[in-house]
């Protein structure tokens, strides 16, 4: 898993449109491995701050806020099946990218531009691919 994350961190530099690490964090979230989740969240949120030239704590704040909101969803919806995970992925990405765009552009008005939907599409696509690989090919449900 460490090699996988190092590989994803390197990829992050060349494909900044895709947040590779959010897929890894969601993976730990669904597996209920809180310790690992917190460890990678702390390490890699600061790595992303460094990479995206954001103020220190920017990614920690938006990642943890997005996870906090989807934690409330657990009261109403399980995530045993793939389609349930898909709902979680969609909601997480929508909240995460909304916060990312809102705080990146410092805009008070509409920030749901074409580029926002493009980011949402490719991030969700990558995460679905990641979970498909993990669950059905590597069999790590």
């Amino acid at each position: 898993m460490v090699i996988q994350i190092l590989f994803l961190s390197l990829l992050q530099i060349f494909f900044p449109q895709i947040f590779f690490l959010s897929a890894v964090l969601l993976f730990y979230y669904f597996k209920n491995k809180i310790k690992e989740l917190i460890f990678y969240l702390l390490i890699f949120s600061f790595f992303l701050d460094f990479l995206f030239l954001k103020p220190f704590g920017f990614f920690l704040f938006i990642f943890s806020l997005s996870f906090l909101i989807i934690s409330f969803l657990e009261k109403f919806l399980e995530y045993n099946f793939f389609y349930q995970k898909l709902i979680y992925i969609l909601i997480f990405n929508f909240i995460f990218l909304s916060l990312f765009f809102y705080l990146s552009f410092n805009l008070n008005k509409n920030f749901f531009f074409l580029i926002f939907w493009f980011y949402l599409l490719i991030n969700v696509f990558f995460q679905i691919l990641f979970f498909f690989l993990n669950i059905y090919i590597l069999n790590t449900r």
């Binding site: 530099i13 060349f14 900044p16 449109q17 979230y29 209920n32 809180i34 917190i38 969240l41 949120s45 460094f50 990479l51 995206f52 030239l53 103020p55 220190f56 704590g57 920017f58 990614f59 920690l60 704040f61 938006i62 990642f63 943890s64 806020l65 996870f67 906090l68 934690s71 409330f72 657990e74 009261k75 990146s104 552009f105 805009l107 008005k109 509409n110 920030f111 531009f113 074409l114 580029i115």
Partner: protein, 243 residues
């Protein structure tokens, strides 16, 4: 389980927001880490470009199709492309040539920002590429680098004109290499492939080449123009116009 998660993420978001606000207000002066990050990313990208040279784009190929269409139009008007450049853009070159500063690009952000090496200029300095196409303006000057708002950044608004200097309307960037000019009066004489320049406002001064008309949509209020940007945002070197 979800209660434990809520507790942990609530704590983490409080810590994150505290750090974020602190770094915004207190640690904002120190940008040493950011310049290390920019240099690190540039070195890695250059390394990959050397290993996979097919990634390097041919800058001139971008303009080939546009020039072909333009020359067809210009042949009808008995003008050549060089004449237009000389007549309309030569004045700008003469005016700004002694004040040009070239800077190396450090990073291109996919959101529309460009980070370049430091130069001793003021905020709001105009940035152009080697073909004198408008790239954007300097929005932030840090200790070691400059941050440029390019025309690929969404929701920027400024006035645009045609080659004769007639106001077309307010152009709005839409983040994908195009501009929208809404509410163009129906009596304005504009055709596809016509050049579009800045008209002059408090955002950009007049006379900089922005792009060419890509599509004209007819609406109730007149026309809507879709303008394709001609600037080369992948360029490794940009030019700043020092006032």
């Amino acid at each position: 389980m979800y209660k434990q998660k809520i507790k942990i993420f609530l704590l983490m978001s409080i810590v994150g927001s505290a750090l974020f606000l602190l770094s915004l207000n207190v640690l904002a002066i120190d940008d040493e880490a950011q310049i290390y990050s920019l240099n690190f990313q540039k070195i890695l990208k250059n390394l990959v470009k050397k290993i996979f040279p097919f990634q390097i784009k041919d800058e001139d190929s971008i303009y080939k199709e546009k020039y072909y269409n333009l020359l067809q139009e210009l042949a009808k008007l008995k003008l050549s492309l060089t004449q237009i450049q000389e007549e309309k853009i030569f004045n700008q070159k003469e005016k700004y040539l002694p004040n040009l500063i070239s800077v190396d690009v450090l990073k291109k952000d996919p959101l529309g920002y460009i980070y370049t090496q430091f130069a001793n200029i003021k905020e709001g300095t105009i940035v152009i590429d080697k073909n004198w196409n408008l790239i954007g303006k300097v929005s932030k000057i840090e200790k070691n680098f400059l941050k440029i708002d390019t025309l690929n950044l969404p929701n920027l608004e400024f006035n645009v004109a045609d080659l004769n200097g007639n106001l077309l309307g307010v152009a709005k960037t839409i983040s994908n290499g195009f501009l929208e000019v809404n509410y163009v009066k129906p009596d304005v004489n504009i055709n596809i492939n016509d050049f579009v320049l800045t008209y002059g406002d408090n955002y950009f001064p007049s006379g900089f080449l922005v792009g060419f008309v890509y599509k004209i949509n007819k609406t109730i209020n007149g026309y809507q123009l879709i303008v394709k940007l001609t600037a080369n945002f992948d360029s490794e070197k940009l030019f700043l116009i020092k006032w």
